[in-house]
């Protein structure tokens, strides 16, 4: 449920460091389940500069509006446009097709402060 190669935030986002300083970001299995059917995603614009902890996207289920917070600081360099037409990808494949954005991380060391899979699992099981 919580792949070990990913890092996690307490706000239920996952982060995957790809080549160099590019980090792909999405929401966790736990988060998509809590939300229920996702029906709308408001994506950030490419080029947006974000600080860790900033709300930079919004995911809406039928009943709830949830802010998505940038787990790290940097610049949004790619967004998942497929979510505009198929927001349900977040429910169906939260770690794959349901990714939200790629951030070019300004300080890769920030990632060390995020939770490991094991730590995150402990958090959601509390």
């Amino acid at each position: 449920m919580y792949p070990s190669e990913l890092r996690y935030s307490e706000e239920h986002e996952w982060l995957k460091l790809e080549d160099g300083n590019r980090a792909r970001i999405g929401i966790t299995e736990f988060a998509q389940k809590e939300l229920g059917d996702v029906v709308f995603v408001e994506l950030p614009e490419e080029g947006t500069v974000v600080n860790a902890g900033d709300s930079f996207a919004v995911v809406e289920s039928v009943k709830a509006v949830s802010d998505i917070y940038a787990p790290v600081s940097g610049k949004v360099v790619e967004v998942n446009d497929a979510l505009n037409d198929s927001p349900e990808l977040i429910n169906e494949d939260p770690y794959g097709e349901g990714w939200i954005a790629v951030i070019e991380v300004s300080d890769v060391a920030e990632i060390d402060s995020l939770l490991t899979a094991e730590q995150y699992q402990q958090l959601v099981e509390e």
């Binding site: 229920g36 059917d37 029906v39 709308f40 408001e42 919004v58 809406e60 039928v62 009943k63 509006v65």
Partner: protein, 367 residues
Amino acid sequence: MLKRTPLNEVHKAAGAKMVEFGGWEMPVQYSGVLVEHRTVRTKAGMFDLSHMGELMVSGPDAMQALQAVTTNDLSTLEEGRAQYSILCLPNGGIIDDILVYRLPEGYLLVVNAANTEKDIKWLQEQLKGDVKLEDRSAETALIAVQGPLAEEILQKLTSISLDELYSFEWTSGDVAGVACMISRTGYTGEDGFELYFAAERAVKVWEALMEVGTPLGMVPVGLGARDTLRLEARLTLYGNDIDETTTPLEAGLGFFVKLDKPEFIGREALLAQREEGVPRRLVAFVMEGRGIPRKGYPIRDEQGNEIGVVTSGSFSPTLEKDIGMGYVKASLADAGSRIFIDIRGKYRPAEIIKGRFVQGHTRRRTG
């Protein structure tokens, strides 16, 4: 401590996600809001509504006493029929919206769960003459079966000829061997039934309906889809679209306010409002692009001036568009008008529509 319906354990066993609603622990969804919603529109869904309040008003003066506290005209309510009505404050604000059934022994008022205590207190104060008010909420279960296959499903469990029962009519009859009030009413915009019966039989009736309904595609439905279904049917929700600060005339419920009745609480205020014209109107609107309107979001005009507020909003699973309702300054509330919903600071265009978002299929008596 949250209150529980007699079906609480059944919902949990079925894997429902439970939430707090009006002091009750209720299922918000079982399989998922979207699939539950669509199944009600295409097949059938079953709802536990046992949290709603049932109040019996009887005695020689019951009819006169109720006439004085409700906006609709009870003198036109025949036995075997149900009537939508409203309890108003003297200033015209809405205390509750209710369903009134005429029974041989009196009138049964079905009230919103969160308002039950408040309504009882109000009625105790306001009902005049030789009248008895009984709270039957705890001993009454309420299960609704809604959707185009509702009649076929329910017919398997009762000897009553359901095709002779039309919208807003009810009859007494057994369902799965349990004595029920079978009412052709609902809150989804689809054809369907609401069954009132003894609370201790709730599990038996629920399970019998599941057994005959499941092969036809029926699913249990939670409060999540109940809300999106009623919104598509443009039915108001107490606490969202109507409350003590809104009047029935502002909410577009004027049809249920019979101002020619000689006397009822709120009449003077509503007469005056009709004379002067309402300051705002509850409108239904469809978003032009994507963006979900939510309760409390400001409504603006082209120039960005605030002209109203959203009271309900959702993604519409049937239209696959974002829809909502809200109050708009009366002069700007005509169907076809363009308004802007302030969604997190971005002004998104929407069009005010006439009528319902989705026209379901109901079975009305004609001629």
